[in-house]
Symmetry: C2
Subunit: 118 residues, 2 copies
Amino acid sequence: MSNIQQIIDRYLAAWNTLDPEQRSTAMQAIVADNCYYADAHLPDALTSREAHDRFITQFRTKFPDFSLQLDSPTQGHHGYYRFGWQLLKVDGSVFTKGMYFGEINDEGKICKIIGFID
Amino acid sequence: MSNIQQIIDRYLAAWNTLDPEQRSTAMQAIVADNCYYADAHLPDALTSREAHDRFITQFRTKFPDFSLQLDSPTQGHHGYYRFGWQLLKVDGSVFTKGMYFGEINDEGKICKIIGFID
């Protein structure tokens, strides 16, 4: 499942890219156009990569110093994955943590991301 | 998300029912006909409730004394859920544990179950 780990590593790297254009380019390579994103804090799920981009940009504008890091190795099988994440403040302390699980499509792009808070 | 918790509680109760006919009846009430099931140990995913029934029956025949229990409360949002599980031996010791993620359809039935091992 090293391929899934690589995709998730690139997703996290994109997430931690502060420049919205650079992030958008990075996201295009690994996230499907119609990727579905939902977490417990969102009233409505996001149903496109563009909406996903805007969501991250809004978050990064509000919290530019935070970084999203792996908290446990990515596991994958049958096109599904999960990984633990932590959102770190600039001093390295944990702001919040949880788990993402989702799906990779036939083109090797993330097509579903569902977040849960630990 | 108490409804999702109730559905998962009934799924675990069905799983722990030794009689295949009783289990099948219990499964019909909470698992969709076309429910997709995959975990890391399965070569091929199961794509029907009938296949799911047979899978559990095979497991229960091999390990009749094991029970599947919640290891963490079910969390749910946007029709998705996750819960930690543990497979207990008759003496109460943990044989294995992990997490299930999945989806509930519009009829309130489980339509996807993806298992990961901790």
